[in-house]
């Protein structure tokens, strides 16, 4: 097949006429990979795509794998910090009237726990996994807008540092992860704590929005030739749908946090009922983001499950189309549920009924997914390895969380258990069961690709059982103590209520669960150093990330694969069909059409640059300064403008021309 078959005359740009006049493009050409032997090809590509040496070089990297690795490690560190928050709270609650932690610190602890887990761990880690895997799975050489991707990482790190340095200075937010007004407003939230919450949100949202746009464009425009919509791997679909949910949900929380900081800083009255504002408006705006947020975390996890199951069931997934449609349906429905977080606010009955119905409806596409996975396992020849164990654990825990979710969707029950530990139990079952367990499975599954080494299977099994038992011991009794009436966010309780023993049991479970992560961390470090070599495709899986070496070279693929099947490596057992004709002296990659993935353009990907870091410093400094004075926006504009111009101004690389 030649490009003439793929690109009709009418699609070609005026470049041809221009070249006839002897300008644009053709004069600037370089060596191509056509017919080049493997060794020379590797030399050329390695030189073109390498991240420069030295500290400045490392800070300038735009390689999606390098950025993703940093993201993954940072998010894992935040998970450990958030986990330590939880352990501290559980020790305080392990018995009645313990005096280890006072109410003020306790308020900061549960707020930091929620904020860290949601904004600094869960969303970044699912996006980071996508940053690593999506370009590999769609068969391209880098993510779209690689500098934007680097920028997003730096902004994310500054947001996380900002929150945790505030905590170290005892000025961390203490208003809960959703920071309702009036508690977080100017009247009841003196000091800078609520401002820290508001701006930390802004940092992390800027970062996730940037990643979402880069992911969408990577999936739409950079798929390997032949990867039409029906051949996109389910994991990539899940990241695509998630990115759309991010694009339409995250602006809501940015609007919320901006309104809040305006009310606090310059005296607007948006949430002030005394001057024509409304406190419930905050909840509407926050949950318009907050509910989709759950699915932003959960959808990529379902994508991981859809990647792991076929690899270990040894057959393509059952109901590929049904799974894709379920993902899209969940994405849409996730926007119709936010009011079920507000049943206790006295909304009109009709509104409450509508949101009850929609909350129950979302169980349908989720149920379809579960049945498709079970059918895949049923019909396959499952090989039980650690990744699959975590997927099985996910089924068990997530289904329980889903069932309590259906219970909570009904208003009378919700009113009864509102703000009790029943709700805490429910959302930990959904979030840890629905996202963390698949994520752990994914860690064991893709670790060999990222590091070139296998994780220890024996430690993995220990980790799984410890996590499963620890998790259920910690969170199942919370349903019961919640039904007994124990409220959330209390730093202690009197002995007469009789909640002491069950809380001691919960705390023991929490410690066990924490220890399972210690074991996991040990396994990670041990396997990086001493794990068995993995080879390209240790699980004999079918998607493109396994078609390259482990870890992949900077340029991902020596030649871009041509895709003929949804599991390309199962359909084309050696040799892999590839496309030729790209330049090797410039960072060329294939831009393809959205639906059919016909190759359309040979475009240049951005070269390493220090400017995204400088821009992130300018943006971060401005956000930080803005909690003290609104003039920060004015003073910060100049450095932001300078760094952005530095970022976009062409430097004369081949990548900048054409």
């Amino acid at each position: 097949m030649s490009s003439a078959d793929l690109t009709s005359e009418r699609d070609l740009p005026p470049e041809r006429e221009a070249s006839a006049k002897g300008d644009i493009a053709p004069g600037r050409d370089g060596p191509r990979d056509t017919g080049m032997d493997d060794a020379s090809l590797h030399r050329w590509l390695a030189r073109t795509w390498r991240t420069p040496a030295g500290i400045i070089g490392a800070l300038s990297s735009v390689d999606h794998k390098v950025i993703a690795r940093r993201y993954l490690i940072t998010a894992f560190l935040f998970l450990c910090l958030g986990g330590l928050n939880a352990v501290a709270m559980r020790i305080q609650l392990s018995g009645p009237q313990r005096g280890l932690i006072g109410p003020d610190l306790y308020n900061q602890l549960f707020t930091m726990h929620g904020v860290t887990m949601m904004f600094l761990f869960a969303v970044p880690i699912v996006q980071a996994t996508g940053i690593y895997l999506v370009p590999l799975m769609v068969g391209t050489r880098n993510i779209a807008f690689p500098r934007l991707n680097a920028f997003s990482y730096w902004v994310y790190v500054s947001g996380g540092l900002f929150a945790w340095v505030s905590f170290a200075l005892s000025m961390a937010p203490d208003v809960g992860w959703f920071a309702y007004v009036p508690l977080s407003g100017p009247e009841y939230g003196p000091g800078k704590r609520a401002d820290v919450w508001a701006q930390m949100i802004t940092y992390t949202e800027v970062s996730s929005l940037a990643v979402a746009v880069a992911t969408i464009v990577t999936v739409f425009k950079q798929r390997a030739p032949g990867m039409s919509l029906d051949k996109i791997p389910l994991y990539v679909w899940s990241l695509l749908v998630t990115s759309f949910v991010v694009v339409f949900a995250m602006p809501a929380v940015m609007i919320t946090s901006t309104f809040l900081i305006l009310d606090r800083l310059v005296g607007t009255h948006i949430f002030n009922p005394a001057e024509g504002g409304d406190a419930l408006l905050f909840q509407h705006l926050f949950w318009f983001f907050g509910h989709p947020e759950v699915y932003i975390i959960f959808l990529p996890a379902t994508g991981m499950v859809s990647a792991i199951i076929p690899a270990f069931a040894r057959r393509p997934v059952f109901g590929h189309l049904g799974l894709v449609l379920s993902l899209i349906a969940v994405g849409f429905l996730s926007f119709g549920l936010w009011v079920h977080h507000m049943f206790a606010t006295g909304l009109p009955k009709l509104g409450a009924s509508v949101f009850t119905a929609s909350s129950m409806m979302i169980a349908i596409p989720n149920g379809i997914q579960i049945f498709c996975w079970l059918a895949t396992l049923w019909d396959g020849r499952p090989v039980i390895r650690t990744p699959l164990l975590f997927v099985l654990g996910f089924f068990f825990i997530f289904v329980i969380g889903g069932l309590t979710g259906v219970m909570l969707a009904s208003v009378p029950l919700d009113l009864q258990v509102h703000d009790t530990y029943f709700v805490v139990a429910h959302f930990h079952y959904v979030l840890i069961g629905g996202a963390v367990f698949p994520l752990l499975g994914a860690a064991y599954f893709w670790f060999p690709k990222i590091t070139g080494r296998m994780m220890s299977e024996r430690l993995g099994r220990w980790h799984f059982w410890l996590a499963l038992i620890g998790f259920n011991a910690a969170f199942f009794p919370m349903h019961i103590v919640g039904l007994w009436g124990m409220p959330r966010r209390v730093y202690t309780y009197p002995a007469e209520l009789g909640w002491g023993n069950i809380n001691l049991f919960i705390s023991a479970g929490a410690v066990l669960f924490f220890l399972s992560f210690v074991l996991f961390a040990f396994n990670l470090v041990h396997s990086v150093l001493k794990g068995a070599p993995a080879g390209d495709n240790p699980w004999d899986a079918g998607t493109l990330e396994w078609a390259t070496s482990s870890p992949p070279p900077s340029y991902n693929f020596a030649r871009i694969p041509v895709v003929t099947n949804v599991e390309p490596l199962w359909a084309e057992r050696e040799p892999l069909p590839v496309a030729t004709g790209l330049r090797v002296d410039a960072r060329e990659l294939i831009i393809s059409t959205v639906a059919e993935a016909h190759p359309d353009i040979r475009e240049k990907s951005a070269t390493p640059s220090i400017w995204p870091l400088l821009a992130a410093i300018a943006v971060g400094g401005t956000f930080l300064y803005s909690i003290f004075t609104p003039w920060a926006i004015v003073w910060g504009a100049a450095p932001i403008a300078v760094t952005l111009i530095g970022w976009f101004w062409p430097k004369g690389d081949p990548e900048d021309e054409e």
């Binding site: 097949m1 005026p14 470049e15 425009k221 602006p251 809501a252 078609a547 590839v578 353009i601």
Partner: protein, 201 residues
């Protein structure tokens, strides 16, 4: 893995305009998320408006004239904007340079009139929630106006350098045209909300 060449893509062009280019899609993505921000801010305004029987909360009506002039300027600017788009597609450097200068001027002009819009609201942001929302809506759009005008001016300068004559830069001009359409389009509902809702509602 062993490979076998199955497709030759050496004849493909090195740049494309509009939906063929990833940058166009990136711009569309940012429009989608910023548009969501606009919609939610407008929604918050309407939410508060339905909550209070007299939403202006006894404030005087805003003077719509500066806003109306901005609206007219923005609508007029669409004509040269789309001429510029055509020149960019034709990779005609001369007309593109002129078009970029014109668009920079047509970006600065509404920005100058915008300066007079804030006092014409006849209320401060800290008077009451109605005043807060007017300032927020106007401020949100002004931020977009400033960033796009800044971007246009930088690109104009770039087009006059030796970097200008390249397919990728012409693509950037096309995306700049696309984004300006967005800045103009988002203004229309905000204009109606700020100046005509208090008169009709």
């Amino acid at each position: 893995m062993n490979q076998r060449p199955a497709m030759d893509i050496s004849g493909l062009p090195t740049f494309g305009h509009g939906p063929r280019s990833p940058t166009w899609w990136g711009t569309l993505g940012f429009m989608a998320l910023e548009g969501t921000g606009f919609a939610l801010a407008a929604g918050a305004h309407l939410y508060l408006a339905t909550l209070w029987p007299n939403w202006r909360l006894s404030a005087p009506q805003p003077n719509h004239w500066p806003g109306t002039i901005v609206t007219l300027l923005l609508i007029v600017s669409l004509v040269p904007n789309h001429m510029l788009n055509r020149y960019a597609k034709e990779c005609a450097i001369g007309p593109v340079r002129i078009g970029m200068v014109v668009m920079s001027l047509l970006g600065v002009a509404p920005l100058i009139v915008r300066w007079f819009e804030f006092p014409a609201l006849n209320i401060y942001w800290d008077t009451n929630a109605y005043g807060s929302m007017l300032w927020v809506l106007l401020g949100l759009h002004t931020t977009h106006l400033i960033t796009d005008v800044g971007d246009t001016i930088v690109l104009t300068v770039l087009m006059f350098t030796h970097h200008g004559y390249s397919g990728r830069r012409f693509g950037d001009v096309g995306d700049n045209v696309f984004y300006w359409d967005f800045v103009v389009l988002t203004w229309i509902p905000i204009y109606l909300l700020i100046y005509w809702l208090p008169r009709w509602g």
